[in-house]
Symmetry: C2
Subunit: 438 residues, 2 copies
């Protein structure tokens, strides 16, 4: 660990929010980073498809052919922050093939092509670091891969999409409707012009896929994740949940069961007094239940230039510390050794067992509740609580909220189908899964 060592050259591919943030951070904190690593870390080459006159790039080679960064023999570490899963995949695989270490913030790329990428990296003896891919600046990747390495993870539950959490927080705190808040989030820049990835849970499912792989030592299996968004949540459901002592959060849940691993993203009622229920606005948090440590929680900013750059540069520090030891990388990418990755099955969503919040619009007349409870009971579904609310529309029907005990999803689906067909039930039955997180 001699203080005298030649500088490490970093090439950055993409200078958007994350790339620009990483560039700035590497320059502003250069002295501190040298104190931490014993090396000077220099951005020597950036690849941008269009020139960026707003950034001071003195002394840095700028290529509009972004593959030139990967071909540059002086570059030791390639930072891939262009996003997407096509060109980004080519950049990363070519960097690996050239024997360069890679740092990426690209959750979609890893969730969909991670197995191929990590296998290539193992083959070449290089490292692909990806702390920024999940929960922004919260070092949850390192926690799962190293900090909790002695633990057997039982389950984890995360608020891992800041846009969705901002929307749910506004709906709860201000009684606003989903579409109204989404429009504001777009205006504030929290949500993309096309918000599908955020509000339909795809972004969260990408991240959950990565977390589950690290937690359980399984391959990345994005295609098997169950994904349900928050677009159909109403302010009434948010408010009824609150009255019953719950909050609705858009959670990614991965759980080890005897039959396989649950991998699911959906709106979830959780008890309001849980710490994670009090994670508001654009913040992220991941709650991990593992043995022997028990419940631990990791909280912070999940997006934005600064937090994401924090994670990208932490990865660079890790790689530089490893380079300085002149050793092969010694921490397996996915927490477990490649030969020890397990083939534990992912459970289909209809085999998952959870409790449920149901809301149905029932005719206000005798016998309806008896019929509803009979249908649930015929499938072995026990009721935890049932509340009839005042009519919202001065019509003849009233909202009925039912909290059930845990039941397998296929039984609940069948019950809901039968409930929806009842003449005295108006419109579709709303159902939201519940987790105690205990």
């Amino acid at each position: 660990m001699s203080p005298v060592n030649k500088p490490v050259n970093v090439g950055i591919v993409g200078l958007g929010t994350v790339g620009g943030g990483a560039l700035n951070l590497l320059r502003e904190n250069a002295a501190e980073l040298s104190r931490r690593t014993g090396r000077d870390i220099v951005v020597s080459h950036v690849g941008v498809r269009r020139a960026r006159p707003d950034l001071k790039l003195d002394g840095i080679t700028v290529s509009t052919d972004i593959f030139a960064v990967v071909r540059d023999p002086a570059v030791d570490i390639v930072v891939e922050v262009i996003g997407g899963t096509t060109t980004a995949r080519d950049i990363v695989l070519q960097a690996i093939a050239s024997g360069k270490h890679v740092v990426t913030a690209n959750k979609a790329l890893l969730a969909e092509h991670g197995n191929e990428i990590f296998a290539a990296a193992e083959q070449q003896g290089v490292y692909v670091a990806f702390e920024a891919a999940v929960a922004g600046g919260v070092p949850i990747i390192k926690v799962l891969r190293e900090g909790l390495a002695a633990n057997r993870v039982e389950w984890l539950a995360g608020i891992i999409n800041g846009t969705g959490n901002f929307i749910l927080t506004e709906m709860r705190e201000k009684g606003r409707e989903f579409g109204d808040v989404l429009a504001e989030a777009q205006a504030l820049g929290y949500a993309e012009a096309d918000p599908t990835f955020d509000v339909e849970g795809i972004d969260a499912a990408h991240k959950l896929t990565i977390l589950a792989s690290l937690a359980f030592g399984i391959p990345l299996q994005f295609a098997r994740a169950y994904t349900e968004g928050i677009t159909r949540l109403t302010r009434e459901d948010v408010s009824y949940a609150e009255e019953l002592g719950f909050r609705i959060k858009h959670l990614g849940v991965a759980r080890r069961t005897a039959e396989g691993i649950e991998l699911r993203v959906h709106p979830t009622l959780i008890p309001a007094d849980r710490l994670i229920a009090n994670v508001n606005g654009v913040k992220n948090a991941v709650l991990v239940q593992s043995d022997p440590v028990g419940a631990t929680l990791y909280y912070g900013a999940g997006a934005g230039a600064g937090p994401t750059a924090s994670a990208v540069v932490a990865d660079i520090v890790d790689v530089v510390r490893s380079l300085t030891a002149e050793s092969a990388p010694n921490v397996p990418h996915l927490a477990f050794m490649p030969h020890a990755i397990a083939d534990t099955p992912i459970l289909p969503i209809d085999a998952v067992v959870t409790a449920y919040y149901l809301r149905l619009q029932a005719e206000d007349k005798p016998g309806v509740l008896a019929e509803v409870t009979r249908i649930l009971s015929s499938r072995g579904i026990s009721i935890e609580a049932i509340v009839q609310k005042p009519s919202l529309d001065d019509g003849g029907s009233v909202p009925v909220i039912i909290l059930t005990k845990p039941v397998q999803e296929r039984d609940m689906n069948s019950a809901i189908a039968e409930l929806g067909a009842l003449g005295d039930i108006a419109g579709p039955v709303t159902r939201i899964r519940m987790e105690t997180l205990a």
Copy 2:
């Protein structure tokens, strides 16, 4: 990272709660640990001063001369979990001198002798890992040293003594007095027979000393930490704080200022809606404010056999992964390279600036409050809020609560001395520091 490698031999010195927990965990999770490291990790030698027939030690060499573990040439990693700062220091220094890596949970040892120990380890090219020394199973050491490596830490605030937090939680939730809850905590095994280290803040100051060193790149300086316990807190103060929207937590606070670094453990009023204000019972949490990631929080069990063993074994995994790479250790013990440790001064407590909660018992007659506010104002102390409470004792005096704006501690001390000398103020003035943690 070949799957075929010879086993790594671990020697454990001390088989109390933590040592026994680590032994069990290494055995129970042996298969998972091999999946994570590519090596078998075997406990080959334990040192216990007295025989422990309750533990199954088949196949393990047992020595009642605990130094025999350190002398055993087959042992690769020595786990020091006997506690204390004398024999433990000898064990650790001898292990280092023998070229063995060390894992320790001993915060007192590191806070008081860490500079000597880490210098010896650097010299020998071995690693001294200490995740279990702070916040039990929460991997806060790794977070500060690696996960937040790109950040400049501005301040951190931690609930890092579970016993103290249990007592404060009970006082608040059930309106109980300190002594009453302490007796229960001792009966439950949360508090030692001699609770001094916990309730006087010494244990928290040991841990804060370590966190501050990692956060700011400074030497360990336990002797300069300001330490104030929770023994003088009353249920009235807990209750008044609550009414004003605050909770009282026993915090360790380390903050970078232009003049130096604050290093202080004391009861603190914090806004009740902060996430860390809702960390209850024996749980620990550390809130870190750093640039560019912003606020991040780490929460979990801070003590107990399982959580502490989780951290000890995570350290063993780190060392084994590093051994397997056949490299010198590549992460500096205290987050920054030894030559880059800074000599930033630690601020004396009377130079620290905080807001204050004051409680004084005033005669219920005209002019007293005017006199009190004059004394504060004469030292430039502004009042944020002032509340007169009903008399507690049907006597002539009433409790007056004052929340001040931030002021340097030496000015507050001088004001309190003058307040205490007023004829119309009965008994000592209670003062508790406040932090917004914003």
